[in-house]
Amino acid sequence: MSEAQVLLEVKDLKKHFPIHRGVFKKVVGHVKAVDGVSFRLRAGETLGLVGESGCGKTTVGRMIMGAYRPTSGNVWFQPPNGQPRIDLADIRPKQMKPLRRHIQMVFQDPFASLNPRMTVRQILAEPLVVNKVAKGRELEARVRELVELVGLKLIHLNRYPHAFSGGQRQRISIARAMALYPCVIVADEPTSALDVSVQAQIVNLSLEIQDKIGVAYLFISHDLGLVRHFSKKIVLMYVGRVVEYAPAEPLFARPRHPYTEALMSNVPSTRPEMVGHKIILEGDPADPINPPSGCPFHPRCLYAEEMCATVEPPLMEVEPEHLVACHFADVLNLTGCDALGCAV
């Protein structure tokens, strides 16, 4: 079976935010938010992006969206009409405009991302009108279809965002992202504000849409149960870098990076009998202003040896398609995840 086309190829992507101090706003350092990230997203696939809070996931998403200009690296995007691929990292805003409709984002914070002065109808119609996709009766029909798609009701169309609960607002932003049937959706914690039943609906809906129109998701999430359910491959980041990149199944069965093992051990579960030993990460979370030398995870790693503090491990293939940045990936026998979610 031939593999699907690569829609997005992120290559050695970096984003360093300058830190200013004093009256003259002198640059005194940089937040190395993203510091060399590479991955590929294929048409119709889901790639999970997981990692510690503050490790740079949203920043990666924003660079793909063209909202932040990368410090270096490439974001190769393959437009759907067979044109040659384009580097979004090196593109003028004017060139970006027509590409926008192909890449949409669903944000982590549904409160900040909806215009409070627009009704739900206006919010959903806007992308369709701006991109001249529909008008008049057809527009209204599309808007109604979208509202129902995400489990809201027609009477909600005339309300403003503030009159909705957190979960309802997130459904609105998901409907807005789906409006143009984009080929890539960067979903930044799309369901973390949702209750579990709506989450299940949105997950089913997203999978259905994916099967139907082949949209690819870059799925940023802290919920490993959902990531496993959704993703074909998973990227694990730690302070701006990729520490493990692998297909879902072998990753959950046998993680190769100690950070992945720590994450998996901490998944909360309603089944106490399934919860094994939690690996408490000692020490401070890594600081992107001044990341540790060598392997960035070494100060908190249970298995670190001397060389880890000095030599940065390269990302190596330990099994087909399973990449790990750990000096001891081959010798460690790490534990996967047995305790995801619930079962009743």
Binding site: G166, H229, T270, C342
Partner: protein
């Protein structure tokens, strides 16, 4: 012992043009010192409004129309009493001094609870100085210490950051630090760990447990994440349509839930045994419009157990005690069963 906080038959309604939204419609519960009550339920079921009512910050046109919110008080002369927060003028000095000092809330929307114009540090320092008599320097040190405790790297630098310069999870942790810095007796945590990765989540849960042990704080823990609720709570309240559907000790609720609504919620989360990409179990339909008047079971019509049973539609809502600390509001369980 008298519970730290006791809510009795609370009703909070929003008077909208389209009708009365009964966001909270007769909710009763209590929490004791050192205990955590988890609150779960679908979006729009009234969880946040319960929290807002206790702090007396329900936005207009919302109003507490009935009920008591009794906070146990230790007066300066050593006498004890209970203050009904529902009777308090929300703008009074007393109300303001209770907010933040006695009762603190971690808000669901981190972006809205920090002003974008001031550094995170200054806002925490301000909150602390409002409620306790500490010098600026002392307040600053306390703020840094607290930011460190919630897992923010190099807090002495981050204290200078503006909210937009922090990642989603860091903002959330900063907000947790702000709520905890005054050592409240009651903490209302509304989705406190949603934007956090599981290791930090575990760390926050540990921190809350530890503070609880040390200071006997009572916690209301609102969350969609059933796993976290299972790990932190002593008891769990399941709300739906502004009403309590089930309340039970945590192990009972997750092992032997009685209400079909509780069971349906638990089933919709993918577990390790759920086949990848399979359709997840959902609950048919949506929560009814809160302006609807429903005399019987509000879950009627979505419930996979009652099959249109008229007992469900006709029996007035009532929460029935089925065992020690375990109450259920299901006509099938309580009336028919």
């Amino acid at each position: 012992m008298v519970p730290t906080l006791e809510v009795q038959n609370l009703r909070v309604h929003f008077m909208l043009d389209e009708g009365v939204v009964r966001a909270v419609d007769g909710v009763t519960f209590s929490v004791r010192d050192g205990k955590t009550l988890g609150i779960v339920g679908e979006s729009g079921s009234g969880k946040s409004v319960i929290g807002q009512s206790i702090l007396r910050i329900v936005p207009p046109p919302g109003r507490i129309v009935e009920g008591k919110i009794l906070l146990r008080m230790e007066n300066e002369d050593g006498t004890k009493g209970r203050l009904d927060l529902a009777q308090l003028d929300p703008n009074s000095r007393q109300a303001r001094s209770i907010r933040g000092r006695d009762v603190a809330m971690i808000f669901q929307e981190p972006m809205n609870s920090f002003s974008p114009l001031h550094t995170v540090g200054n806002q925490i320092i301000e909150a602390l100085r409002l409620h306790s008599d500490v010098s600026k320097n002392e307040a600053r040190n306390r703020a840094i210490e607290m930011l460190g405790k919630v897992g923010i790297p190099r807090p002495e630098h981050r204290i200078e950051a503006y909210p937009h310069q922090l990642s989603g999870g860091m903002r959330q942790r900063a907000m947790i630090a702000m709520a905890l810095v005054c050592n409240p007796r009651v903490l209302i945590a509304d989705e406190p760990t949603t934007a956090l990765d599981v290791t930090i989540q575990a760390q926050i849960v540990e921190l809350l447990k530890q503070l609880q042990e040390e200071f006997g704080m009572a916690i209301l823990f609102i969350s969609h994440n059933l796993g976290v609720v299972a790990e932190i709570s002593h008891d769990v309240l399941v709300v739906y349509f502004g009403r309590v559907m089930e309340q039970a000790p945590v192990d009972v609720l997750f092992r032997e839930p009685l209400h079909p609504y509780t069971r349906a919620l638990l089933k919709s989360v993918p577990g390790i045994d759920t086949p990848v990409r399979s359709k997840l179990a959902t609950i048919d339909g949506t929560i009814p419009e809160p302006s609807e008047l429903i005399p019987g079971c509000p879950f009627f019509g979505r419930c996979d157990q009652c099959g249109g049973d008229s007992v469900c539609q006709d029996t007035p809502y009532v929460l029935t005690k089925v065992a020690e600390n375990h109450s259920v509001a299901c006509p099938l369980v309580c009336v028919a069963g």
